[in-house]
Amino acid sequence: MNQTNKSPLQQTAPPLYQVNKPYVTASFEIKYHQIIDADGAVVGPIPDFARQPEQLIKLYQAMYLTRQFDHKAILLQRRGQLGTYASSLGQEAIGTAIGYTMQADDVLLPAYREYAAQFLRGVSMTEILLYWGGNEQGMNFQAQKHDFPINVPIASQTSHAVGVAYAMQLRQQARVAVCVLGDGATSKGDFYEAINAAGNWKLPVVFVINNNHWAISLPRQKQSHAKTLAQKAIAAGISGEQVDGNDVIAMQFRLDKALNKARNGHGPSVIEALSYRLGDHTTADDATRYRSKDELEQNWKYEPLSRLHHYLTNMGYWSKHHDQQLEKNTQHLVESAVQEYLNTPAQAPESMFDYLYQSLPESLQEQRQSVIQRHQGHA
């Protein structure tokens, strides 16, 4: 395997006797990317796609829809019509940029705050509601056959992404796996194992860290002493960078680069998207126990929708009239998804047996019969 005949030691350093003082064998830098700042001002070069108003409007609509959906889902939960729900409030730009940038036959491996990406990829709002409403059919996406469902055991989806990307590479397909994880997830061994392996094989996979600065009650600075989470990629031998995760234009631009790189056989990347969790961790959480009002208020200034709104308005692409139109359309979409969800009957009790194996082993038939009998008449 060695390109030279030198010993491994000699490949990285001159013979020991020549070293009279330590010298640098590796170093790194992490870049931070932003294009539109919190006030909607342009601070970086506008990429080509963002010169087309209809593209930007698409991004804005996707973020807006996600926010309205989130709002509605929380209401449903409060009314007892939905189980525990994890909102993506404040982080809509990350999912939107992902969903917008990925190609149809790529594979998304989300955590649980990527509704925007899922919607853009054909997962329906009804399906997401079914999932949090306690119905596995919510993971049986009708219009999205390859994507993984929501992933709850933190960071465990990262190694699935490695396997998915390995399969794509083996079959010489121009496809990419996109894996999303939280800042907390970067402390798990799974993440290190995955980025390390992805680097080894130069796999077509992009890891997006949604650094929303909290993992339930643990703030980002207590999660790791590393200055950035992106730099963890460097240890795995792959590229890592930070992007303003509330700047959907920068997110799209950097993601597009990372996906193209992966698609063209140039290997994996880690993108640390800097964002902020404006909501509670989930509807079962009360963030006032551990997070100051001040901090929350501060961070509302940076949220992704208003900044794109500013930019669109400044550029003359958007007006009050558009706002009203969008509000009406979105409300309609969300309401009809909610109705469809509420009208979906619970699955039959025996369904808990029906997808355990491709065909139910003989030994489980009796248990399946007993659940049917137990619930006969209950329907």
Partner: protein, 326 residues
Amino acid sequence: MPEITLVDAVNMGLMHEMAADPDVVVLGEDIGLNGGVFRATDGLQKKFGHQRVLDTPLAESLIAGMSIGMAAEGLKPVAEIQFLGFVYSAIDQIINHAARLRNRTRGRLSCPMVLRVPFGGGIHAPEHHSESTEAIFAHIPGIRVVIPSSPLRAYGLLLSAIRDPDPVIFLEPKRIYRLVKQRVEDDGEALPLDVCFVLREGSDVTLVSWGAMIHETMMAAEQLQQAGVSAEVIDVATIKPLDINTILESVDKTGRCVIIHEAPRTCGVAAEIAAQLAEKGLLSLFAPIERVTGYDTIMPLFNLEQQYMPDVNSIMAAAKRTLEDT
């Protein structure tokens, strides 16, 4: 046709299925050029290339997790974990994902993977290398746990494990990797999963076991024969899901049952078999069910290994106890 060992049969099965099905990939630690620490994958990389036979970094959770990703994309990964004592960091992936991907997605995605793991004591291995914790996996809905006990069954069951559309934990009894040889034809004929194999017919007592302990169990049956006792021997082979019917039928005939495993006693698979016999076959029993098992102790280092493992004498003694008062 030459006679081959159990580990050779595993190798032959892998070779056969890789040649027959381009979706089969083999992965794990040191499985490539080195052919695996037990040589089960010897020669595969040379024949099928490093892309289909891949040496992974040293990361068990990754090995299981990436197999899930591969399987969801339609490959048929056959992953090796070097020893059962090192599978524990992969258990999150097995339980939380492999076992339930089909169920979670209502069949939209599935996980046709095999996790091969050498297991069990008796080869004077270092600490953590001699575990028999198959019951942990038998508890998990959504997976199969398959254990061969001979070269023939290693070949036939491995083929069916690879062809099975759901995840299979394939535990290989490493103590008998090279203990016995058999003629095994490389004909691609699989053996059925989810069924017990009756290895020896008898009428006085049913001996139930799996894996390496089948060896001692068969010897005990032989010696019982000489003492005038006719023992039926059942190799459970698939411990999850369990084919209790074959065991029930046998016990219905013999009225006596001894269950033998190397694993610790409490909540071992024998406990499940005994419970089901009590539920469904109590009236055919002439004597209490006997269990011959490892102790509820940490698997000792190899000085005391023999004292830990069930042996022919303890199986004989248990069988005789079932015959004593009846």
